[in-house]
C-alpha cells in the first residue's frame, strides 16, 4: 500500500471519537502489519511479561517466550527479580527449559558454562583446552547473561525489549499517582488464585473489551443485577491507560458473613468504588478495597492470546474458602468475555469491516487504546521513512 494511504488510515483511527474508525483488519490478521505493530507498541513500551509471584522464592526461575524471544525470569538470592535472554553467551543454547530452582549456578547443558543467579558468567570449563578453564582472549566480565530492562509494579513484571523507553515511573506517573493509596503490599492468593484462559483472539481485542463498560449489561447480566451501566464511569488517560470505574463495588461475603480484610488507610471513595484499567499495552488491572487482580495478556500468535489472571489480597493468610469463591467468581466473569473477543477476531476476516465506528458516549476508553496504537505505529513508520 502507498505510504500516504497507510498514514490516512491511521489518521482516521486517531481522529476524534465522533469521526474515528477502529484499527483496520490487518492489525488483527496480517503478520507483517502485526510484526510492525508489535515493535511499536510492545517492544518499545513497557510490556507485561509475567508476575513476580511466578518465581516466589530465591533461586526460582521460569523460562518464558515473549514475541518469539526466549527469556528467563529469575529471582536471585537477594530477592531481586531480573529478566535475561535465556541463552548461553557461548553457542546460543537455551539455558533453562522448564521452571525450577537454581541452587547455585545456571549450568548450560551444552558445554557447562556457568552463570551466577545475578547473571555473571562464573565458569567456563575447558575453554582454554582440557583442564584449563580460562583463556586470555575470553573476558568473563563481558559475557554475562544479557539482561532485559525490567520493572515490577503491582507484582507485574514489565519489560522494555528495546531498552530505550523512558523509565517506567515516568511513563506511568499518572496511574502511579491515581492509585497511590493502593501502593501497599500485595499478597498473591496462591495456586487457587490464578488461572489462565487461552483465547483465540488477538491480544488487543482483550484490551479493547476490558476498557469499556458498554458491554456489561449484555455480556455480564449477573454483574448488571447490582452494578448498572449508569453506575460506571470512564477512565481516560490518553497515551497511557484507559478503563472504567464503578461506584457500587460490593464485597464478596462468605457463608458466615465474613469478608476479605481491606487494604489499609483507603479513602471513603473506595468503600464502594472500584477501578479497572488497561495499562498500555498489555496488562489489565483491577483494584478494590479488599483485593486486586492483574491479567497479563500474552500475545501468542496474531489470533491467539493467553490471559494469565492473578488475584491479590491485603493480607497473606486469607480464608481459603472465600478466596476460592472469589477466584471462581472472577473466572466466570472473564470467561463470559471469551465469545466476544473470539467473535471480534473472526469478524476481522470480513473484508467489509472498516475498523468500525465508536459510540462517542460509551467507547471513549476503547478508542483511546486504538488511537495510542495508531499513533505509535505512525511514529515508527515516520522514523523508518526518515532513514
Amino acid at each position: 500500500m502507498p505510504k500516504d494511504q497507510r498514514r490516512n488510515i491511521l489518521d482516521a483511527v486517531s481522529a476524534p471519537i465522533e469521526l474515528a474508525r477502529g484499527l483496520p483488519n490487518a492489525h488483527y490478521t496480517d503478520p507483517d502489519t502485526i510484526a510492525e505493530e508489535s515493535e511499536a507498541v510492545l517492544s518499545r513500551a513497557w510490556a507485561a511479561l509475567a508476575v513476580a509471584a511466578d518465581v516466589p522464592e530465591p533461586g526460582d526461575c521460569k523460562p518464558l517466550e515473549f514475541l518469539g524471544q526466549p527469556v528467563l525470569m529469575l529471582r536471585d538470592k537477594d530477592d531481586t527479580v531480573r529478566v535475561f535472554q535465556n541463552i548461553c553467551r557461548h553457542r546460543g543454547m537455551i539455558l533453562v527449559d522448564a521452571p525450577r530452582k537454581i541452587e547455585g549456578a545456571i549450568r548450560c547443558p551444552y558445554h557447562s558454562w556457568c552463570y551466577a543467579r545475578d547473571g555473571r558468567l562464573v565458569s567456563t570449563p575447558h575453554v582454554g583446552g582440557p583442564g584449563q578453564n580460562s583463556h586470555p582472549d575470553l573476558d568473563r566480565a563481558t559475557l554475562g547473561l544479557i539482561e532485559i530492562r525490567s520493572h515490577i509494579w503491582r507484582d507485574v513484571v514489565f519489560v522494555n525489549l528495546s531498552g530505550d523507553a523512558p523509565p517506567f515511573q515516568e511513563t506511568h506517573a499518572d496511574i502511579l499517582n491515581r492509585w497511590k493509596e493502593m501502593e501497599q503490599p500485595l499478597h498473591h492468593g496462591g495456586s487457587d488464585s490464578q488461572f489462565m484462559l487461552q483465547v483465540d483472539t488477538n491480544w488487543k481485542l482483550a484490551v479493547e473489551n476490558y476498557c469499556e463498560s458498554y458491554h456489561l449489561p449484555w455480556v455480564h447480566p449477573g454483574l448488571n443485577s447490582y452494578s448498572r451501566l449508569e453506575d460506571h464511569y470512564h477512565i481516560e488517560n490518553p497515551g497511557n491507560y484507559s478503563g472504567q470505574g464503578t461506584h457500587v463495588y460490593r464485597q464478596l461475603t462468605g457463608d458466615d458473613g465474613q469478608v476479605f480484610p481491606d487494604f489499609e488507610g483507603l479513602g471513603d471513595f473506595w468503600d464502594e468504588g472500584a477501578e479497572y484499567i488497561a495499562l498500555y499495552p498489555n496488562v489489565l488491572l483491577g483494584v478494590q478495597r479488599d483485593h486486586a487482580f492483574a491479567i497479563v495478556l500474552e500475545p501468542v500468535a496474531h489470533n491467539r492470546t493467553r490471559e494469565h489472571v492473578h488475584l491479590y489480597y491485603a493480607q497473606p493468610d486469607i480464608d481459603p474458602v472465600l478466596r476460592r469463591k472469589n477466584a471462581a467468581q472472577w473466572k466466570e466473569v472473564f470467561a463470559e468475555d471469551v465469545f466476544v473477543v473470539e467473535g471480534m477476531q473472526k469478524g476481522r476476516a470480513a473484508p467489509g469491516f472498516d475498523g468500525g465506528r465508536f459510540s462517542p458516549a460509551m467507547d471513549g476508553p476503547t478508542h483511546l487504546f486504538h488511537a495510542w496504537v495508531a499513533e505509535k505505529v505512525a511514529a515508527l513508520r515516520a522514523e523508518k521513512d526518515a532513514l
Binding site: E103, G104, S123, P125, P130, G131, Q132, N133
Partner: protein
C-alpha cells in the same frame, strides 16, 4: 580411571545425581597423576558443585586455581 569408577560415574550421570557426580569426579581427579586428567576431573567436580550451590565449590575452585587451571577471583 578404574573401571568400576567409570561405571559409577555413568550411573550417576544417568540418575542426574549431582552429589554423587561431585564425589566421583573428585575421586577420579585424586586417582589421576598430576596433569591434564587430574585437572579435567577436578573441573567437573567443581562445575557440579557450583551448579548445586554446594559448600565444596569454593575449595574445589581454590584447588583449580592452585593448579593453574582457573583464574583467581
Amino acid at each position: 580411571m578404574p573401571s568400576d569408577l567409570d561405571a559409577r560415574l555413568l550411573a550417576a550421570h544417568a540418575a542426574g545425581d549431582r552429589p554423587a557426580l561431585i564425589a566421583l569426579y573428585l575421586e577420579a581427579s585424586e586417582a589421576s597423576e598430576p596433569g591434564i586428567a587430574c585437572r579435567f576431573y577436578l573441573t567437573h567436580a567443581y562445575i557440579y558443585a557450583l551448579e548445586a550451590g554446594s559448600d565444596e565449590a569454593p575449595a574445589l575452585r581454590a584447588a583449580l586455581v592452585a593448579m593453574g587451571a582457573e583464574t583467581p577471583e
